[in-house]
Every structure is written in structure tokens, then in C-alpha cells.
Symmetry: C2
Subunit: 437 residues, 2 copies
């Protein structure tokens, strides 16, 4: 067969080297999530189409991977992890509240594949359901901060804003009721097209110049510590805005107590987040270098989780974008250099000594060393060393009749080719204390 079948367009195979990076990131996420009391959840990849549709907006609904199963049921592949969470919360009322869960799993979207956009990608979601306390919002931010620091990120900023505050801002500016979303979509582009660009777009959309002026009176410079203080007076008559400000101030207080330094976050009035369903604090994390967009996105959404329960259930959470985080970490050199998890390749000398080589490998594994035995049929030493080299295995153990007679093992350092004889009983300790990778 000349052309082996490809993976589907927009979907990817993750070969071992890439998987090791992904496992590293997911392992850190899980450790941090669990350290804050978040518990793992998993849900099926396939859901009834009814469960998925009508939750994400019309445009998004078109991207759901829908099909009819053999029983004639309309079903679809999971589009995100939030709607399944809402379904689980409704279906199992016995779950304790607040319910703190994380889910790390692939989702599917029938998007046009392009650079950095895939039809299958993993989301890492962490959410707290069933409390309106700003403690929960602050905790999500602390989790994001902790996870990114544990991964080695140093230069990142979590941008905070609040949908209630944005609503108040729109009202203050005189945006007609029902047109807030359109205004916010333009404001969201401030980063990309600047103030002049946003002003032009708003005027073209038909908003009055006075409205646009009043909006920018408050928006610019809409960053930094004094933003909230500056807004309190002009927005004094707007209860939405006042509550939004109070929420952000409370989050800020808790963040301090949770050990998140002030340099790690920033109020940013122009940060809007795309999704319509947010109702309170919203947040996203951007890294300055490389410029890759946001690596986390989330906020409070008090109306979505209750959609299957028939009543509002407050919730707050965030997604961490696994793919982008891996990309950024690669660009920044934040990964330990590790092409393979194997620490040593135990080579085979001949058929007679093979059992002894297996015993050595077994001893090493028993001592906690990740030891691989060369399994190829044709395997002179040269081929075995090439295999170790190709795989990036840092050490090779040689065990011929001489070594066996002397109770030794020859250890070869694959980085510089040096060899030394080591008493067999000391091999595991030697490998464990060696710098790896």
C-alpha cells in the first residue's frame, strides 16, 4: 500500500515525545487541582444532540459533530466540558454542594482546520458549582496561578474584569438596552485594532458619538490598581456596576490571602471574553512571549449549570488550554529535556547471557529504575547503541560474560560515550543519582 491512511484532517496523532510533554502538563494540573480539593469527573464522549444543542449559540451549534446512531437517535460528540457538567449536576442531586470538579478530556468541533485550530482538542476544566461566594472565584484564580507557576511560567498576567461592571459601563455610556453585546464585541478588539479602530467600528455600527465618547471616558486607561477606585464615583448610581466593583474588590482581597502576588493579575476593563453566558467576574491569562493569545479563560456563569435543573445554580470556573500551554512551554524551553522516560537500556550480549540481562533489568525495575531491555532480533552492540541513541536513552548497561564473572555491569553514558564498570549491587543507585535527560 503506497499511501498509508492519514489521521482525519484537523485531528492529530500524539507520538511518544509529544505525549510525554502532555502527560507532564496534565500531571501538574491534576496535582494542583486536587491540592485545592477539586475532584475528577468524566463523562461520555457522545451525548444526545438535544443535550448539546441550543446552549452555545447558533453559530456554535453548527460546529457540533452530530450524527444519527444505529438506533436512530440524534447524538453528537461533546463540544465542551461545561454542558456535560450541567447535565451531571442535574442528574445527580446527591452530589455535595459546593461541587468542585475537574475534567481533562478531548472535545470535538467541526471547525475549518487551520494553524492552531483543531477538530479534536483537549480541555482542562476546573469549576466550582453551587456557591455565589467570591471565595470560589478567587480560588479558581489561585488554582490557575499555582498551576502555571508549577509548570515554570514566570511572565504571565491574569486579566480580570466583571460582566456586571461592563453592563453598568454600557448603561452609563447610554448604550441602548439589548445592544450591549455588540458594543462589548467591539471593545474586545481594543488589543488588536486600538482605540481609534474600536471607535470607528462603533460609529459604523451606528452608535452615537456621545455614547462612544462616554464609553472611552471610563475605559481608558482601563488598567491597573486604581481603575476600580476611579470608576466608583461616576458609576455611583448604577447598582450593576457597584456590585461588579464590589465583587472584584473582594476577589482581590482573597487573592492576597491565597498567596497570589499583585503582579500576577490586573483589572482590564477592555477584556470581555467571547461567551455570552458569563454573569460576574471574568478572567483570562495571557503570556507576553510568545504572543499566542490566552492560555486560560473563564469566569462566573450563574445561569448555565442550572439549565437542566430548572433553576439557577451559581458556578465559576476556567478552562486551561492544554495545546496552547504545551506550545508556549516548548517555545520558552520550560520542559525538562526528556525524549523518553527510559533511564537505561540493558543490552543483550548473546543468547547464553540473555537470562542474566533480564535478571539485571528486573533488579533495576524493582529498585524503581525505568529499565528497558533491547528486544530486536538482530542486535549487535552497534545496533543496540544506535537504538539507545535514537531514543534518547541516557544510559546503556553492558553485561557480557566478563562482567557477569566479576559481578559487575559496564555503564555507558550515552552523552559522552564514557564507560565505567560498576559493582552490580550499586547500579540502581548510580542510575538514580545520575542527572537524567
Amino acid at each position: 500500500m503506497a499511501n498509508p491512511p492519514q489521521a482525519l484532517r484537523g485531528m492529530r496523532d500524539f507520538l511518544p515525545e509529544r505525549m510525554i510533554l502532555r502527560h507532564h502538563v496534565i500531571g501538574v494540573f491534576r496535582r494542583v487541582f486536587e491540592r485545592y480539593g477539586f475532584a475528577p469527573l468524566d463523562t461520555p464522549a457522545v451525548e444526545y444532540a438535544d443535550t448539546l444543542e441550543g446552549k452555545y449559540g447558533e453559530e456554535a451549534d453548527k460546529l457540533i459533530y452530530k450524527f444519527e446512531d444505529r438506533g436512530g437517535r440524534q447524538v453528537g460528540l461533546r463540544y465542551d466540558l461545561t454542558v456535560p457538567l450541567a447535565r451531571v449536576v442535574a442528574l445527580y442531586p446527591e452530589l455535595p454542594k459546593p461541587f468542585k470538579r475537574y475534567q481533562i478530556a478531548p472535545v470535538w468541533r467541526a471547525e475549518r482546520p487551520q494553524k492552531g485550530r483543531y477538530r479534536e482538542f483537549w480541555q482542562c476544566d476546573v469549576d466550582t458549582v453551587g456557591t455565589s461566594s467570591m471565595l470560589a472565584d478567587a480560588e479558581i484564580l489561585a488554582v490557575l496561578h499555582d498551576a502555571l507557576v508549577q509548570l515554570g511560567f514566570r511572565n504571565f498576567v491574569m486579566r480580570l474584569n466583571n460582566r456586571k461592571l461592563l453592563k453598568g459601563l454600557s448603561a452609563y455610556a447610554g448604550v441602548p438596552e439589548g445592544e450591549e453585546a455588540s458594543v462589548l464585541r467591539s471593545v474586545d478588539k481594543l488589543d488588536k485594532i486600538g482605540e481609534v479602530g474600536v471607535r470607528t467600528e462603533l460609529l459604523e455600527k451606528g452608535f452615537a458619538a456621545t455614547v462612544v465618547d462616554r464609553l472611552f471616558d471610563l475605559l481608558a486607561p482601563g488598567e491597573g490598581d486604581d481603575v476600580l477606585a476611579r470608576l466608583r464615583v461616576p458609576l455611583a448610581d448604577n447598582p450593576d456596576a457597584q456590585q461588579g466593583i464590589a465583587e472584584l474588590e473582594q476577589v482581590r482581597e482573597y487573592l492576597g490571602a491565597l498567596g497570589v502576588p499583585e503582579t500576577a493579575y490586573r483589572i482590564d476593563l477592555a477584556m470581555v471574553r467571547g461567551l455570552d453566558y458569563y454573569t460576574g467576574p471574568i478572567f483570562e491569562t495571557v503570556v507576553e512571549e510568545p504572543r499566542i493569545g490566552s492560555i486560560t479563560g473563564g469566569g462566573r456563569y450563574d445561569h448555565l449549570v442550572g439549565i437542566f435543573s430548572g433553576r439557577d445554580i451559581p458556578a465559576v470556573g476556567s478552562t486551561l488550554g492544554l495545546e496552547r500551554i504545551v506550545d508556549v512551554m516548548e517555545a520558552l524551553g520550560l520542559f525538562p529535556e526528556e525524549k523518553t522516560r527510559t533511564q537505561v537500556l540493558v543490552t543483550l550480549f548473546d543468547a547464553d547471557t540473555t537470562p542474566e540481562a533480564l535478571r539485571l533489568a528486573t533488579e533495576l525495575r524493582g529498585a524503581g529504575v525505568r529499565a528497558e531491555v533491547y528486544l530486536g532480533e538482530k542486535g549487535g552492540l552497534k545496533r543496540q547503541l544506535a537504538y539507545a541513541n535514537n531514543q534518547g536513552i541516557p544510559w546503556v548497561a553492558l553485561l557480557g560474560p566478563d562482567e557477569i564473572a566479576r559481578g559487575e555491569v559496564t555503564l555507558r553514558d550515552m552523552r559522552d560515550g564514557t564507560q565505567q564498570a560498576v559493582p552490580r549491587a550499586q547500579v540502581a543507585d548510580r542510575l538514580k543519582s545520575a542527572p537524567s535527560g
Copy 2:
């Protein structure tokens, strides 16, 4: 909404308590797999239908979750992890050989849901591709043994057989060419319907009584150490049988060197394995109590992986059945008792002391303790203790103005309700040394 939407029939939500068990098992698998040098691989959930079809047999093909995607492509959900492995091996010829990979991922089958049979379930596959050496077969068995022992299994037996030997047996008995599979399907039922049952079924299928007699001459008692020795003479003229015997003997020799005790495996001539594609050693693991069928299944399959490469590529591997293993472990009480991963709930006294409680939780997390803060809005102490109790959190930390003034924390043991004041600096150590769960 009176009736919240269910998960699809035959698919399951895994709530935290269950997920903690699954994570435990998967964690052990990964650690053991990597200790032998197996590397992680992941592939998309969706494949071209062409890639999946025609590999599993006609009956199985009907169970593939097929659909047409929005681009009009015929696609299907992954049916197992072996065909994607074959595709990956063909697509990336640069992968070093032998290629040792593991994949732990869900697969989908449009089966009729019934007890213990699901439409979405996880497979844990470990395979070595690109070598005919029996070392690879023995290593897979050592991995299975090691993984099960690490999980706490004590009474299990890995049953071994060999397809070449079975072929030789059939020829010796006089089974007409092309009818071996039918004979083997009957022999496979020996466990269930006994020798009389299998004899009857074979006669009903139209096999001659002499054929059935000759078959059972060799089959019974087809277990134990001397089986191979007993077969060598009668099957002396059959090259397939001789090679099958030699392969099993070599596997047995290597297993000893790999530290697998003789009590852990047994040659079982009546063990056939369902799939047609095996070509050499085959193996499965059964536990005696509870009787749940096999928890691992695998063998050598030298013609399947090359299907997309246009040439034979030898391979050997096994699946570990995650769902069954979790079920058996629950039945045997092999899991650590752990409803939650959280070690301590830090309670909130009032708004004034909340920041101090957050600082305590942050300190504990920094010291590696999994510490949860109570996030509910309404939270008298009684409600907070009920939450801890309901969640199975073993310790609760109380921090009121008195404790803060004294630099102490009151630790409450949720198992017996006893409380003690602990100097704040010692809380983390106290929790880490406490027996958990």
C-alpha cells in the same frame, strides 16, 4: 425541567468516587508500562471509516459507530487501539523499531447494552511492534504480572497457549483444512460446557468421532507443567506444533529470568482467544474470585500491524480491561479507602477571619497537603462539618479568633470527633503523618 437528560444508553458518567479508583489503576499501569520502556501514544477518537472497516470481521464491522461528517466523509469512532497503532506505524516509518507503546483511551462499540457491556469503555493496551523475539512476548507477560501485583492482586493465573500449536493439534486430529477456526471455537467453551459438551457440539458440527477422539487425546488434561513435554512426541512430525512448543518453552525460560513465579502462569491448551488474527503465543488472565471472565487478553499477531504498510510487521501485546479490573478490585477490597483526595477541610469562622483561613490553607498546600477551604455561602460550623463528613474528608481545621491569637489550629479527626489544638507551624506535618482514609 422535571427529567434532566440522561447519559446515552450504554455510556456512563464517572463521578469523583469512581474516578479516583480509575485514576489509581491507570496510574499504576502507566508507572509499570514506563518502567519497562513503553512510551505513551494517543490517536484521534474519530478515524476514516475505511481505516476501521474490514479489520475486525463482518460481525464486528456492524458495531463500528460510523457516520458522515459535515464534509461528507465517512468516518467512525475508534473501535479498538490496535488498528490505530497499525495506522501510526505505517504513517511514521521514522519511529524506532522495536516500537514499544502503550495507549489508555476509550473505544466505542454500538453493542446492545447489557450488564458489564458498554458502548463506551476504556482499553489499556501495551504492545511491542517490530520484533519476532519471544523476549517481547515474555516481557508483555511480565508487565501484566507486575501491574496486577502492584494493584494488589494475589490469586490470578495467566493462561498461555500458542496458535501454531493449536494449528498443529488440529492437523494431528485430522481436522480438515479451513475448519480449524470452527473446532477452536468449540474447544474455547471447555470451561463452560465441559468435555462432554464440547464433544457433542463438535459431532453436531459434523466432525468425525475419530477426529474428536484424537483431539481430546492431546487436549486432556491440557494443563500444567508437563503439557509441552507430553505433546512433543505425538506432534513430532508437525512443524507448526513444534514451533509453537519451542516458542512457549522459550517464553517460559524468559519469564523465570524476569521474576515471574511459576505459580502465576499455566499452559492451557483449551484457551483459544476469540480473535482470528493471533499467530503465535496467546494469553489471558483470569481471577478465580469473583468469576468475572478474563481481565487481560492478548497475544502475538504478526500480520495485523503491517496491514497499512503493505508488509508483515511482527507484533505482540495485550489489553488490560480497565472496567473489569476496577470491578474485581472493588469486590476484593483492594482499593485504599478514599472517597476524596482531600486531606483536610479548612473551615471558615466568620468574614473577619476568612483571610487567615485562606492563608492557613495556602501554607498547607505549600507543604504538600491537599487542603480544601469551605466555599459555601451559608456555612455555620455544623454545615461545614456535615460537608466534610459527606465528602469523607478525614480532618477538619478550625481557626477562630482564639486559635489565631494563640497561633494554633484546632484539628478535628472526623472519624471519632476528637479535637486537639496544634501549633500552627506543626499542622502540615501532623496531617501528613496521620493515617488517611
